[in-house]
Symmetry: C2
Amino acid sequence: MNIETFVDRSLGRWRSQRSSHNLAFQHSEEVLSTVDIVSVAASDPSVAELCKAQGFEPAAAVSPFHMAWQGESDWDDDEKTEGSCLLVPIADPDGAPNQGKLLRSKGYAEEMPAVGEYRFTEEGVFVLITPYDRASAEERIWFGTPNLRFRVSMIRTSDGKGVVTASFSSEIRAKAES
Amino acid sequence: MNIETFVDRSLGRWRSQRSSHNLAFQHSEEVLSTVDIVSVAASDPSVAELCKAQGFEPAAAVSPFHMAWQGESDWDDDEKTEGSCLLVPIADPDGAPNQGKLLRSKGYAEEMPAVGEYRFTEEGVFVLITPYDRASAEERIWFGTPNLRFRVSMIRTSDGKGVVTASFSSEIRAKAES
């Protein structure tokens, strides 16, 4: 698996069902949302802008994409979670096809830009580790079928020892709409 | 990773938090349960009995264990789910350390014995595929920390194309009890 293929398979509209586990209190929160993943031209000015802001050469950008989501939580009918961000994979400087960096214009976990490191396992699982100030996020994304994506996310404390929350998303490709 | 180490790390009492996703209807069910995993001597008569019933040599059994669980569903206060089974890993006949079969005396998904095939990925994820009459179950189990296990399960239709349900469990090691 490489990032071009992975992004290509991820494009489209997905209906996402997410369960978040608060591990200390053993309670769960369910969120249904719609996720739209759209390809962005490498020549788009926003790509070069994000690369430069994070200190990367725009020429190293591979398969940039835009992600937007809109959801509702079951804990508060008035709480609608929506957002969007630009994601720019950066090729490995040594040319390794199965790893690189991922720039994000702003996060869904935190409202700030982030730079993560991704790699693909031999089974094609996309693993992304994003360090934050006091924690790091670890995401694993894989396809059950071409129309079904799974995503497991964990937030670890910065010493790497504790996992605070874990979440699981099932993402089903929405029917093509006219 | 090999099966001896994996079973060894899994021994003990775990507090499990499971979210099951019905993919067609996008509804979730939450179950909290306690899982006890206990080592069983390879010489225990129940091990030889299960091996013979499934057509395997008892001498091929590696690190057998017993699993018991007790839980409650949020859908029906009266519904208590509990059960237990004997699990017997069988060494690969060609001696591969990272794969083999797993015999189960009866299932938690179905009340019948089962024979699954397991393997470990390069990252140490335990992957178990168990065929049933009209479906197959695929489980992926890995450790987030020594005291935190994750488990993702999917039920696929027998043609392998459709995934009917998917579930995610966070399992936290319970404090040692006297």
